[in-house]
């Protein structure tokens, strides 16, 4: 090394190596950012889904009983119910104990509507409507205390008589680490110590959420209707997008001559569609499915709104149009993934099948598709996950924000992400927390779908291999 002194060279080299190591750390740190974002995301959701609330009661517990309610016995609690909310008792019994809706329940003999429950023998053959108004509450109370625990009755009292609403709510970590400030704030809000509500821990994520419909009171609101909506949407997507998508993929991979102009157009077109923003699909669904194929009152064909099938009041803003919109949306993803899976099937399988005298379709159906199945399933997981979380197109085709009845095919509907969206944008205390709880439900659903599909895929794969 005549010109560069050995020492200089080496120190330069070490310099260069050090710089390399530093940059390497920096690159790796990018994943730190990604992990951090995910962790923060999860923490934010947990932080909101659990927390502390100050409840104010429409009727203060002290005003209906001298002793704390929790200490009262079952009969005493029932007596309270009968005294303070006699009119609501049949509904409570019907909701808590009978599978029937209130209308049917009122007209059916108790022995029948509450078949497997404790019913006083002398009333078993009477319907609630037959019992004289004066006695009805008492009989209902008797049935409640016969079938429910003290805690359950306490809950009923809380909902029917005390009627709590959230006055203020605080996220979990604030409640855990900054309790003092919250207490101060409470004192500020409720200077009168007698009426000051106590700070309670509240898990907004409740198991009853799954079975309770939406409610304007965040304390009792559930996601049942939204969850059902989402499930129905998924079913429609599975039934429409998957067969069509896989069929299109088979056509493109097995039958289409890539030199034909129309096949090239189809191919390019699918790739372009995959890049179209989801909200545009919403507009497509709104115009094509909701407007033109929807309500005849606004010039539609009455197909998607149900008039063609005898439904009278369909508007076209329903599960079907929303589901089909989502199906159109995921179709390109399904096709592209299925194409890749089909392309990956070794040509030797095809040769073997043809060599045995199989027709083209027999070869595809019996050899190509089974071999491509794991890959196709992977694409399906992707697109199902996408369909579950997709919100914008549903908003555009007109998902409702507040649905109490279980949705039917032609009724108004809502879906989980829509609920999360509306709850997130509501200013009243309790709704953002509810949104967080809804998010947890949504994420659990997503994880469930992915797990099921993952297992299915691995099974299919194992069947193919040894």
């Amino acid at each position: 090394m005549p010109h560069i002194e050995e020492g200089v060279f080496r120190s330069k080299l070490i310099d260069r190596q050090n710089r390399g190591t530093a940059m390497r750390r920096l690159y790796a740190a990018s994943f730190g950012v990604a992990i951090l974002a995910l962790v923060l995301l999860v923490l934010t959701i947990v932080n909101e889904a659990f927390g502390y609330v100050a409840l104010v009661y429409k009727v203060e517990p002290e005003t209906i009983s001298d002793r704390p309610l929790a200490e009262l016995t079952e009969p005493e609690l029932v007596a309270l119910l009968v005294e303070k909310a006699p009119g609501q008792l049949p509904k409570m019994v019907s909701d808590a104990l009978s599978p029937m809706d209130l209308q049917t329940f009122a007209r059916a003999p108790l022995g029948q509507s509450l078949a497997d429950k404790q019913v006083p023998a002398e009333h078993a053959d009477k319907a609630p409507a037959d019992i004289p108004t004066g006695e009805r509450a008492a009989v209902m109370g008797q049935i409640l205390s016969g079938n429910l625990t003290q805690e359950q009755i306490l809950e009923l009292i809380e909902a029917a008589i005390l009627q709590p609403t959230v006055s203020e709510s605080w996220p979990l970590f604030e409640g855990l680490f900054n309790r003092g400030a919250i207490e101060e704030r409470l004192v500020e809000l409720f200077p009168d110590e007698i009426t000051r509500p106590e700070l309670r821990f509240k898990s907004w994520l409740r198991l009853e959420m799954l079975t309770k419909p939406m409610d304007s009171n965040p304390l009792v609101s559930g996601v049942r209707t939204a969850l059902l909506g989402t499930v129905y949407l998924l079913i429609i997507v599975v039934l429409t997008a998957f067969p069509v998508g896989i069929a299109a993929a088979i056509y493109l991979e097995e039958y289409a001559d890539p030199n034909k102009w129309y096949n090239r157009i189809i191919e390019t077109n699918i790739r372009n569609l995959a890049g179209v923003p989801s909200i545009i699909y919403g507009l497509l669904g709104l115009q094509l499915l909701v407007r033109f194929m929807g309500d005849p009152a606004t010039g539609g064909l009455g197909i998607t709104s149900g008039q063609a099938f005898g439904i009278i009041d369909g508007t076209g803003r329903n599960i079907i149009t929303a589901g089909l919109t989502l199906a159109l949306l995921v179709l390109p993803v399904v096709i592209i993934n299925a194409q890749e899976a089909i392309r990956a099937v070794p040509p030797s399988y095809r040769d073997a099948s043809y060599g045995l005298g199989a027709t083209k379709w027999q070869t595809i159906w019996r050899t190509v598709l089974p071999s491509a199945l794991p890959g196709i399933l992977t694409g399906i997981i992707l697109s199902l996950s996408r369909a579950v979380g997709e919100t914008a197109p549903l908003v555009v085709v007109g998902a409702s924000t507040f649905i109490v009845q279980d949705p039917g095919l032609f009724t108004r509907f809502t879906a989980l992400p829509i609920q999360i969206y509306t709850w997130t944008s509501r200013p009243q205390a309790g709704f953002r927390e509810l949104a967080a709880a809804g998010i947890i439900v949504l994420l659990v659903l997503l994880i469930a779908i992915n797990t099921i599909a993952f297992v299915l895929r691995n099974q299919a794969r194992r069947r193919l291999q040894v």
């Binding site: 990604a34 959701i45 039958y255 909200i279 507009l283 096709i335 908003v395």
Partner: protein, 494 residues
């Protein structure tokens, strides 16, 4: 040979079994063409499934196009407004002492303190001193800052104690009753300046066209568009027609189609603001991730990191939106920088996180297709890994990375829920762009407006389709450019 005998019996047995199971005819029919109607039908069905996607595109283009056209044919009727002196406002005047005098360039009005407390002088309000109209820019403790010479009036000096008139907008109303056969509409003083010859106006439901303006009188053609000629009492409100023009649509900075403001720029601006922030976030993170995965990570590490990116892809956007609002805005940006509750910064940051996987995986592809030979040449010359990446791999993969960025922008532009939740609920044009305040993007606007039950004939309905078309064109061009670059890049190395 015994073996052969056995073979014979196997074969005969199979032949027997086959012809038994299938009937003689099926087992050994000739090799002639067989009709296979099922196969034909299947091909037709498969082809139909393939063609369906063409219809999807066709319908998207058709609907966005036709509704956008009807948007540009739509009209909004707005009340013709004129400025009048607000008689109800409390009388105020410039301060009486010498300091109260205002020369023709000063912008600070000194008022008596009593006056200041009585009159709000909200920013944007118009006031008149003498013949000059001024616009209130800011209200200070002892004075009011104004912009001089508003609405084509000339800045003039004003003496101390000059009375200040508060102006307000008022609808233009007719002065005299109009009979069925009249063609002249008399307006209050100065009101005719609001109109121009050729304007289409409405009195109640009757459409008229201004044929000429004579002083304060409009000469009109009446009963146009088959509307009924009627008589009107004095004080009838005059409405004037506004139509969107392409120019107004593309250059206007206010979006309020119901009241005749058809400028899409505020929506486009905030869309690009959030996308800009998003790319600023996602590019370094995504590119670094791609470099790490492609050049450093071992197989094991990769098996751990790839799913991480997949999870980022799998999180529903509405959840990201929640995160943007609850954590990024309320948890971080607001305490630190005092931003508005809705702002484009937070939405952009989270959209950025969302598109990191897009950028990472496309960049990874790009770097993966840089030929080994190039790298080896660089190592062979004694370059370190970093130097090889920076001087050889990245430049070689540059166009692929550019394609990734463009596709990322396209994703960001089309993203809806994050911006709908976190960016704001009203169009807002800010210049220079202000990232700390709320502003609705194109997608956010469509989502909000379409949320209600829209009447299919309303301007709102057609307007979201025209915005949709704009959005479609933007994202389509971006994806096309990205695909084009990617293809060129591939051809280079394959």
């Amino acid at each position: 040979m015994e073996q052969t005998m056995e073979g014979t019996s196997y074969s005969t047995e199979r032949s027997r079994l086959l012809s038994q199971a299938l009937g003689k005819h099926a087992a050994r029919a000739g090799i002639g063409k067989r009709p296979r109607p099922n196969e034909r039908l299947i091909v037709v069905l498969l082809f139909a499934a393939g063609v369906l996607s063409i219809f999807t595109t066709a319908f998207i283009v058709l609907f966005l196009g036709t509704e956008a056209v009807s948007f540009f044919q739509s009209r909004a009727w707005i009340y013709a407004k004129m400025l009048v002196v607000d008689q109800a406002a409390a009388p105020v005047s410039l301060r009486g002492d010498a300091e109260g005098a205002l020369n023709s360039t000063g912008t600070s009005l000194l008022l008596d303190l009593g006056d200041l407390s009585r009159v709000p002088f909200m920013p944007g309000a118009l006031i008149q001193i003498g013949d000059e109209i001024m616009r209130v820019a800011e209200r200070r403790e002892r004075s009011v800052i104004v912009e001089r010479g508003y609405l084509d009036t000339q800045p003039q000096p004003h003496p101390p104690g000059a009375p200040i008139l508060t102006l307000k907008e008022d609808s233009v109303r007719t002065v005299e009753a109009i009979k069925e056969e009249d063609t002249r509409i008399v307006l209050p003083e100065n009101a005719a300046g609001v109109f121009a010859v050729g304007d289409i106006i409405h009195l109640e439901t009757e459409t008229m066209r201004i044929a000429a303006i004579e002083g304060d009188t409009l000469v009109v053609e009446r009963g146009l568009e088959n509307t009924l000629r009627r008589a009107y009492p004095a004080n009838a409100v005059v409405q004037v027609e506004r139509r969107p023009t392409l120019l107004a649509y593309l250059t206007g900075t206010r979006w309020q189609p119901q009241t005749g403001d058809f400028g899409v720029l505020p929506l486009v601006q905030s869309t690009f603001m959030t996308s800009f922030i998003a790319i600023l976030t996602a590019l370094p993170v995504g590119l670094a991730a791609a470099i790490y995965l492609s050049e450093y990570a071992t197989q094991r590490v990769r098996a751990f990191l790839n799913p991480l990116l997949e999870i980022l892809v799998g999180v529903p956007t509405v959840v990201y939106g929640f995160f943007a609002l609850q954590f990024v805005t309320i948890g971080v940006l607001r305490p630190l920088f005092g931003v508005d509750i809705y702002n484009t910064l937070s939405a952009g940051l989270v959209v950025g996180i969302m598109i990191v996987p897009t950028i990472a995986s496309m960049s990874l592809d790009a770097m993966g297709s840089v030929p080994r030979g190039l790298r080896e040449a660089s190592y062979g010359l004694g370059a370190t890994k970093l130097e090889t990446i920076a001087r050889v791999v990245l430049p070689a993969a540059l166009s692929g990375i550019v394609a990734a960025v463009i596709l990322g922008i396209s994703r960001a532009v089309g993203e809806t829920m994050i911006v709908a939740i976190a960016a704001g609920a009203g169009p807002n044009w800010t210049f220079p762009p202000n990232f700390t305040v709320g502003a609705e993007t194109m997608t956010g606007h469509i989502a909000r407006i379409s949320g209600g039950d829209l009447s299919y004939q309303s301007v709102d309905y057609t307007s979201i389709f025209s915005i949709g078309l704009t959005l479609f064109i933007i994202t389509f061009l971006l994806t096309q450019i990205s695909t084009y670059i990617t293809r060129r890049f591939r051809e280079l190395y394959e």
